[in-house]
């Protein structure tokens, strides 16, 4: 399925996770902190889910916390880093808005520019880094699929022993962690899990303190839904199995789209290069095309795509990600492939696209 819904790039819940979720509402509803039989059952299920998520993400169980409001994870992770507010806060120009927004809470903030392929200016980052800096970088971008060289970034950050927060919400289980990191943010939606479950990871030796009022001796509010957490764990296991069967196929489909669009349509910006983008995402911006009309024209043909252009996002400001890369912000469409996409769907899309674009350009 070529899809992108309300949440950029969101896919339907994994069918197997759906079953887990329904069963979990019957079995895992109780408060795991209570010692009743139901409470003990919920606790055991939750323990299994945490172990499974940690194992799938190659983390220690003690390093992860589940959050019921995933969008809060990055801001809280940054806010709780040592000295946040008075020490330099460094972030990439294509980070998600809630991360960039944290600059309002810091006395010193530095935005690191990206090149036309979306890659962070590593030299500028290295020059800006200080021993007490807090660095927030995404491993990949949800709008464009651009992957950062997180290994090289981590190397620069470790040299200063600074805090490294990595936003892995776009790469999800595709994320390969570098040797050095401090905090990580995952969203279950990235592996076709349910909305409303995020994973916050804190490296065992990292310094961090919960910036929220300390009413309990915990690192997280723990008010997440247990059934959703169990479904997130199940979805992750199944997603990994689907990925190993389909990753090469998705990559070649994205490559096909990239080459076909380049050959058949003029005046188009394709974000990033084939070597440094996620295997399932491609962002295309067509000059002199209205994204609103493009998305509608594709919808009629049965293709559901998203757009980062202002005219579709019901915001006046254009996408800060495309703008930071110096790419065209109008006429944008994003294709985000799910594991169940059929090769024939892409063949159909590619056969239709040049005609749709030229028709829209004639208007």
């Amino acid at each position: 399925m070529i899809t992108a819904g309300k949440y950029e790039g969101q896919h339907p819940l994994h069918p197997k996770a759906r079953q887990i979720l329904l069963d979990a509402f019957d079995q895992g509803w109780a408060d795991p902190a209570q010692i009743s039989a139901q409470g003990r059952q919920a606790q055991a299920l939750l323990h299994q889910a945490r172990e499974s998520i940690a194992k799938s993400l190659a983390l220690k169980v003690s390093e992860i916390e589940l959050w019921g409001e995933p969008e809060l994870i990055s801001p809280i992770a940054i806010w709780g880093a040592p000295g946040f507010g008075s020490t330099p806060f460094i972030y990439g120009a294509t980070e998600r808005s809630e991360i960039i927004g944290m600059r309002a809470k810091s006395k010193q903030s530095f935005e690191i520019s990206v090149d036309i392929d979306g890659a962070i200016d590593l030299e500028l980052l290295t020059q800006t880094l200080q021993p007490n800096s807090i660095v927030a970088i995404q491993s990949a971008n949800l709008e464009t699929g651009v992957i950062q060289d997180i290994k090289a970034i981590a190397k620069a950050v470790v040299a200063q022993n600074a805090h490294l927060h990595i936003d892995a919400t776009a790469s999800g289980a595709r994320f390969v962690k570098p040797a050095y990191w401090s905090t990580l943010h995952f969203d279950a939606r990235s592996w076709n899990g349910p909305t409303g479950v995020g994973v916050f990871a804190l490296k065992s030796d990292a310094r961090w303190s919960n910036p929220l009022p300390h009413t309990k001796p915990t690192r997280a509010p723990n008010s997440f839904s247990i059934p959703l957490a169990l479904a997130a764990a199940g979805a992750l296991e199944h997603w990994i199995a689907d990925e190993s069967a389909n990753s090469a196929r998705l990559k070649s489909l994205i490559e096909r789209i990239r080459n076909h669009v380049k050959q058949t349509i003029s005046d188009v910006d394709i974000a990033g290069n084939a070597q440094s983008t996620l295997p399932n995402i491609i962002s295309l911006s067509f000059l002199n095309v209205s994204s609103e009309q493009l998305v509608a024209a594709l919808e009629v043909e049965g293709f559901s795509v998203a757009s980062g252009s202002a005219c579709v996002a019901s915001a006046l400001e254009p996408s800060h990600v495309l703008k930071a890369m110096g790419l065209l912000t109008h006429g944008n469409m994003r294709i985000n492939l799910n594991h169940d996409v059929q090769d024939g769907e892409i063949t159909k899309l590619l056969a239709l696209l040049p005609g749709i674009i030229s028709k829209l350009r004639e208007n």
Partner: protein, 70 residues
């Protein structure tokens, strides 16, 4: 006299589409004063210039001097 294209009040992508149409009628070297208050215009002009081979100068927040160069 420099011709003018006033796209104030028009939303993305209309200003750039109108600019593309207008510049097609121009000779190489001819200039156009392009006025647009859409927030996407400044960002899109750089991409437009790169893709079409034309040049532009920012005169003020909403005023751009376009030179047909291709």
């Amino acid at each position: 006299m420099t011709q003018e294209l006033d796209c104030r009040g028009k939303r993305c992508p209309l200003p750039i589409i109108e600019l593309s149409k207008k510049i097609n009628e121009f000779e190489v070297g001819q200039e156009l004063l392009f006025i647009s208050d859409d927030p996407a215009t400044a960002a899109d002009l750089s991409a437009w210039a790169r893709m079409t081979g034309n040049e532009f100068k920012i005169i003020s927040a909403d005023n751009f001097l376009i030179t047909k160069s291709n």
